[in-house]
């Protein structure tokens, strides 16, 4: 039985992943901004078989609260061995280009806040010498493109940070997974026309759960994004910069 902390628990991917943990009989603590939404999810997870579901209301951009939040979650669950960092926003690139305060908030949410939590969790798992952390980054972090490079840069930073933490904790056998979803059919992408590359959140969730259980390092979800991003990364910059991406 795991004791699982889910940060950004009201996201569609996080909720689907929580359902898998629930069906395995794991104990779960959900963190999000809206109490009523957390409650709706918690009720569902209990009906599906989770022996214990706790909720904590927090704005994860308030980084000074992170340590206290982890203390509280650990106390409620009687320990902590698994964490999913899932919060994020897919901002408006055009607005980011003219409104720096907005862009900074995007970077704060998608990079700084996630990195702060990952760092704090890393210290705790290092001390207890066990644990597993999955961090939801994005294929957008693999190469900057004009259509979403503020989001992409934040996720690139998070990918690098996660890679460093994995390197640091590897000798202790602690799993740190970088999750790179492609297009996922969620409220975050509600405004985007859906093509055949779009995956359902439950498919991505199964991939995340499998990666945690098997102790994987970097996973593209669905898997074919590994191929797509390999090609995207191979295109010479002289050509890449002329593409409308």
């Amino acid at each position: 039985m795991r004791r699982v902390l889910i940060l950004g628990a009201t996201s569609a991917i996080a909720e689907e992943t929580a359902r898998i943990f629930a069906s395995k009989g794991d104990r779960i603590c959900l963190v999000g901004r809206r109490a009523d939404r957390l409650e709706a999810i918690a009720t569902d997870l209990k009906v599906r078989g989770a022996p214990q579901v706790e909720t904590l209301v927090a704005d994860l951009n308030e980084m000074e609260r992170h340590e206290a939040l982890l203390d509280e979650a650990t106390e409620k669950l009687g320990g902590l061995d698994t964490a999913l960092i899932a919060h994020g926003t897919l901002g408006d690139q055009a607005r980011s280009q003219t409104d720096w305060a907005y862009a900074e908030r995007e970077i704060r949410t998608n990079f700084l806040s996630a990195a702060s939590l990952l760092g704090a969790l890393a210290n705790r798992f290092e001390a207890q010498r066990r644990g597993a952390i999955a961090v939801i980054s994005s294929v957008a972090g693999d190469r900057g493109r004009q259509s979403n490079y503020v989001y992409g840069a934040a996720k690139a930073g998070l990918t690098a940070f996660t890679s460093g933490v994995r390197n640091r904790l590897a000798p202790l056998g602690i799993t740190v997974v970088t999750v790179k979803p492609g297009f996922v059919d969620t409220p975050m992408t509600a405004h985007v026309p859906k093509g055949p590359l779009f995956a359902k959140p439950d498919v991505v969730a199964r991939g995340i759960h499998r990666a945690i259980v098997r102790g994987r390092n970097v996973v593209y979800l669905p898997w074919f994004w590994w191929g797509i991003m390999t090609i995207v990364k191979l295109v010479p910059e002289a050509i890449f910069k002329r593409l409308r991406l």
Partner: protein
């Protein structure tokens, strides 16, 4: 959300001007939107009852949470966007089954209520609506109404079978049925004509919870109405391990087939093979519940075999005593327009609470027709005539073309129902059948 994916199962009519908003939290108010509103689940209604040209669809599949489940009584409370497939995945391993299920599990609970769906056990258990203990209705004025047989009873009756027009169902409470295992004790019996169907049916309804028949609609003369009768019950407890019966095949129709793939020749070949698939007259055995209830769910997007022009399903109910069903089958056989997908079944006398509920005592026939334009519409008019003479009815969930007069004859309660329609809610179907009043 992009509206392209929001088409009905028959892919006719095609609607281009339609906004979509996703519902994800049952506590949220209705989203701001232009024009009229209509809840949309999985789009398995065949015609235009799940479409809202010029208005907004409220996509409900994000409302997919369970709220409570009582292991001892089998009462489950869940959000309206939970699919019947999800309910089965949850309930079957715990020893419970849907009280009523249509021929696909890819519908939402909200959709099952809004269409007051029926299944192979209508003669024994009535419609889905009979097993809905309570639900919450969110109206456009922001009110949230708990509806049961006692509380807000008129809205309860209007919403069951109410085609999504009375507001959004946010959650519902359903009474499940206890089962011993996921198996069905099933039996197939070949019948040579319509009279034999009625004989076998009369003998089966007492002892079998589930009954349904497939009919070879190309057979005529003394073979008119021949087919295969399927009957079954939930299996008795199995001692020891369950027999290993795998049912995992899942294929997808990848592309639209060319229009005309379903034609008299291909249908004749299929029907010939299907009618003779069993050598003996009776074949019996244990089978998993999926192929018994949902044979077509094994083929995802099967509506593509009808091509880009789409198809119609015609489902009517007529009284058993009349000769109407014979005349309907004769007309269909002579037309050579139908596809092989045909369902013949008798409805029992258990009443539904729904004002606009389709099932009523009699015999119902459902079959698919590829869209061949004017020819197909003219055949439907001839069939309408026979249904009308017999005092029968057509099923809104399957309809894309019935004239307003046919709707009003089918649903004598429609004026009482209309008083409960939410002033901001509407659908392409509702506007079509209420024009000219």
């Amino acid at each position: 959300m992009h509206p392209d994916r929001f088409e009905s199962w028959g892919r006719f009519p095609r609607v281009c001007k339609q906004e979509v908003r996703s519902l994800r939290w049952r506590g949220d108010p209705l989203p701001a939107a232009e024009g009229t509103l209509l809840p949309f689940g999985l789009g398995r209604s065949y015609g235009d009852s799940c479409l809202n040209e010029g208005g907004t669809l409220l996509s409900t599949t994000g409302l997919d949470r369970l709220i409570s489940f009582d292991h001892t009584t089998g009462v489950i409370r869940l959000e309206a966007g939970v699919t019947l497939a999800d309910v089965l995945r949850f309930a079957v391993p715990r020893g419970w089954f849907l009280p009523v299920t249509p021929g696909t599990k890819f519908v939402t609970v909200g959709g099952a209520i809004a269409n007051d769906v029926h299944g192979k056990n209508h003669h024994a258990d009535g419609t889905f609506g009979r097993h809905v203990r309570a639900f919450e209705l969110l109206r456009s004025d922001g009110s949230r109404l708990l509806c049961t047989r006692e509380e807000n009873a008129a809205l309860y009756r209007a919403t069951i079978g109410g085609l999504g027009l009375t507001g959004v169902i946010t959650w519902a409470e359903i009474q499940l049925r206890p089962i011993h295992n996921p198996l069905i004790e099933a039996e197939n019996v070949r019948f040579r004509n319509l009279d034999e169907f009625y004989e076998i049916n009369a003998a089966s309804e007492r002892d079998y919870r589930y009954t349904v028949a497939w009919v070879d609609v190309l057979a005529r003369g003394k073979n008119l109405g021949r087919g295969i009768y399927t009957r079954g019950n939930h299996a008795a407890p199995v001692t020891g391990d369950l027999p290993k019966l795998r049912w995992t095949s899942k294929i997808t129709v990848p592309l639209d087939a060319p229009s005309g793939s379903i034609n008299p020749l291909t249908v004749r070949l299929f029907n010939f093979a299907y009618y003779r698939r069993q050598l003996r007259r009776v074949r019996a055995g244990l089978m998993p519940y999926e192929p018994f209830f949902y044979p077509l769910d094994a083929v995802a997007k099967w509506n593509r075999v009808y091509g880009r022009r789409g198809f119609f399903q015609y489902q009517c109910v007529v009284p058993k005593e009349t000769e109407a069903m014979r005349a309907i089958l004769e007309t269909i056989a002579a037309s050579e327009e139908a596809s092989p997908l045909v369902v013949l079944k008798t409805f029992g006398s258990l009443p539904s609470p729904g004002m606009l509920s389709f099932p009523r005592e009699g015999v119902t026939l459902a079959l698919d027709f590829p869209n061949r334009g004017e020819r197909t519409f003219r055949l439907f008019e001839r069939l309408d005539e026979l249904v009308r003479e017999a005092g029968g009815a057509l099923y809104p969930a399957k309809d894309a073309r019935m004239p307003p007069e046919m709707f009003r004859l089918s649903f004598p309660n429609w004026e009482e129902f209309a008083r409960h329609v939410d002033p901001r809610f509407s659908s392409s179907f509702w506007r079509r059948v209420t024009t000219g009043i």
